[in-house]
């Protein structure tokens, strides 16, 4: 796995997905929270300034009724200068909208449709510079076409609000990042654990039943699962070893009497003259024992391959195929069969050399047996590296398409093949050995002939 794939792999893990979902849910929640806070703050802060303005307007209206214009103007000027009432703004204009009194330089342009409340901006000195501050204000008419504006600086409120917003948004973004980061980290952890599990599973499938999944101390669900799988593997190992024991006793119980039979026949033969009828009978007994032995060997090897309890090691497939071709070359040449081969170098598989050799030998035995004199056999080892393919092809009679599946079963001999010697277990053994090595066995038409492919 390259780094990119590993990264993409993490994105596919369930913890990372859960983290994404939770981050989205959290973001929506945070947005709702921000909205609610904003709403509440606005109500409290705006409410209090509005009350202030409302009270001031009320006061001025009352003063307006009792004071002369000049006294009113003075009052406005006084209020405008008052440092205690920070942020309060006043403006009194004449009918031509010229300022008469107050601390706002000009009557703001106000949309006629706006109600009594409106917002406007004023440049306020701030140290050496001036800043635009937002004001919330009410206006009301004065006698003689004069107008009055009373307002309050709400810039600070805006500042507080935007500060709060920024704080909240930063918090949300940080939380999202932490959530995604945490999800990614968890995903990697899970991926590492899953990777360890699948590595062990691969070894187990290759036949190393003693392997167990790594279990950490923590009691989380993965470790619990791993422990349970390990218990299951213990059972499988016991069962497989049990099968092996049964196989061994079956072998013992069959080989021992066969051995006695062979010993007895050979012992009796040694005292008989060559060519005598009795000796010929015993010779045929001995030949039958040989035949039974080779069938028994094949059956046991098939069963052994099927239990998967065979030791495996790296096998140089290139060398093996080349050596098998070399072993069979003289015998095919004697039959006038051309044994052609093309063997790629450097192909290696994890497996059992003896069983692989036996499988190849069976294929070559078959090819030589069924190919007519002067025929043609081709052995190919294709593609070096991790997925080599071995092909054995002949131009014999082949196997009809509808019977190819059947011949891989045990002891199936097609009627056409009965005139040839053999136990009928050759291809079954090839099939079992192929399966043991996790390879694919394909029988095909070589047009004419049989094409057997073992793809690792």
């Amino acid at each position: 796995m390259g780094p990119d794939q590993r990264f993409l792999g993490v994105l596919d893990t369930s913890p990372f997905r859960i983290a994404i979902v939770y981050s989205i849910v959290f973001a929506i929640g945070a947005a709702a929270l921000i909205y609610a806070v904003d709403f509440a703050v606005s109500r409290v802060v705006d409410g209090s300034t509005d009350n202030l303005i409302e009270a001031e307007v009320q006061g001025l209206r009352e003063q307006m009724l009792v004071l002369s214009r000049s006294d009113f103007i003075e009052l406005i000027e006084q209020r405008s200068q008052d440092q205690d009432v920070r942020g309060a703004v006043y403006l009194m204009v004449d009918p031509q909208l010229r300022p008469v009194a107050g601390n706002v330089p000009a009557w703001p342009k106000v949309d006629a449709s706006a109600g009594k409340w409106f917002l406007f901006k004023v440049s306020v000195p701030f140290g050496d510079e001036t800043r635009e501050h937002e004001m919330r204000a009410q206006r009301f008419p004065l006698p003689g076409g004069y107008r009055m504006l009373v307002g309050h600086d709400v810039q600070e409120r805006q500042n507080v609000k935007s500060l709060m917003m920024r704080g909240l948004i930063t918090a949300v973004v940080l939380t999202l990042l932490l959530g995604l980061g945490g999800g990614f980290w968890m995903g990697r952890r899970i991926l590492a654990q899953a990777g360890a599990i699948s590595a062990v599973a691969t070894q187990i499938m290759r036949g190393d039943l003693s392997q167990r999944l790594p279990v950490r101390k923590a009691d989380d669900e993965i470790n619990t699962l791993a422990r349970e799988i390990n218990t299951m593997l213990d059972k499988i190992e016991q069962l497989t070893l049990g099968m092996r024991t049964v196989l061994d006793s079956a072998a013992h119980d069959l080989r021992t009497p066969l051995n006695r039979l062979q010993a007895t026949a050979e012992g009796a033969m040694s005292s008989l003259k060559t060519g005598s009828p009795e000796r010929r009978v015993l010779e045929s007994v001995s030949t039958e024992v040989d035949q039974m032995r080779s069938t028994l060997d094949a059956l046991l090897r098939i069963a052994l391959a099927e239990t998967g309890t065979v030791a495996r090691e790296p096998v140089d497939l290139s060398a093996l195929v080349a050596s098998m071709v070399e072993l069979y070359a003289p015998v095919s040449e004697e039959r006038g069969i051309v044994l052609e081969s093309s063997v790629a170098l450097g192909a290696q598989v994890q497996g059992n050399r003896q069983l692989l050799a036996q499988a190849l030998a069976n294929l070559l035995d078959n090819a030589i047996k069924f190919t007519p004199d002067g025929g043609h056999i081709r052995v190919v080892l294709d593609g070096s590296g991790s997925a080599p393919e071995v092909i054995v092809e002949d131009n014999g009679p082949g196997i009809p398409a509808d019977k190819r599946e059947i011949v891989l079963g045990r002891r199936v001999r097609l009627d056409e093949a009965r005139k040839f010697p053999g136990s009928g277990l050759g291809l079954s053994l090839v099939a079992a050995v192929t399966k043991l090595h996790g390879a694919h066995l394909v029988l095909d038409d070589a047009g004419p002939g049989l094409r057997v492919s073992l793809k690792f």
Partner: protein, 227 residues
């Protein structure tokens, strides 16, 4: 040769003992593993034939115990189990050769012979030149000469001849050749070994009066000088 047979199957043991005595060996027998270990440790035997599945003490455990006490006596293990792996475990336990039941007496005798002479041929193993009559094989230069004439052999024929020369005078079976030269442990359905031998015979015997490579009926082949 003094041979110890440790085998619990009476029929097989008696026949084996009889056949070995007929072949001129002195034979002692044991019917179980403990007795076998005791005899192998106390009697100076030249070779032991040990069945793998024995009562009281398993055949493999017997061989292991024997090796643990430093006894180097050649051991041939007889097995009625499967094969493939059993052969490896048998040899790893300290066995020198391994034969699966049922076997032919000729096969067993040939293997006993090879095991017994392995000690003698220790020198031949080390020396680079092997010689039989007028046939010479140089393992360093990979050259084969007969009667001063160079003989061209393929790499495999050379290996085959080398194996035969190291076992010259002995009977070598087809399975011994397949194991010793190709390192394969199965019975080919076709007579692959015979054809290889006949090619080798063509190469070394064809142009010469005295044949060196002989067929031993019912057993295998033998490379020897006929007197």
């Amino acid at each position: 040769m003094h041979i110890l047979i440790v085998e619990d199957d009476e029929v097989a043991r008696d026949y084996l003992a009889k056949a070995l005595r007929e072949a001129g060996h002195t034979v002692d027998v044991a019917g179980n593993g403990m007795e076998g270990l005791h005899m192998a440790s106390s009697i100076a035997v030249d070779l032991a034939i040990v069945d793998r599945m024995l009562p009281k003490l398993d055949g493999l455990a017997l061989v292991q115990s024997l090796r643990a006490t430093g006894r180097k006596v050649p051991v041939l293990i007889l097995s009625a189990l499967g094969d493939v792996d059993d052969r490896i475990t048998g040899l790893r336990a300290g066995g020198d050769d391994y034969l699966t039941k049922p076997y032919h007496m000729a096969e067993l005798l040939a293997r006993i012979d090879a095991l017994a002479r392995r000690g003698d041929t220790g020198n031949a193993e080390a020396s680079t030149k092997l010689k039989l009559a007028d046939l010479e094989l140089d393992r360093m230069t990979r050259r084969v000469m007969r009667n001063g004439k160079k003989i061209e052999l393929t790499a495999r024929e050379f290996q085959l001849l080398e194996f035969m020369m190291r076992h010259s005078g002995q009977v070598v079976t087809r399975t011994m050749l397949l194991e010793g030269v190709w390192d394969y442990h199965f019975d080919p359905q076709t007579n692959v070994i015979d054809v290889h031998i006949s090619r080798l015979r063509q190469a070394i015997d064809k142009d010469f009066d005295k044949p060196l490579l002989h067929t031993v009926r019912g057993a295998g082949y033998s490379l020897r000088e006929d007197e």
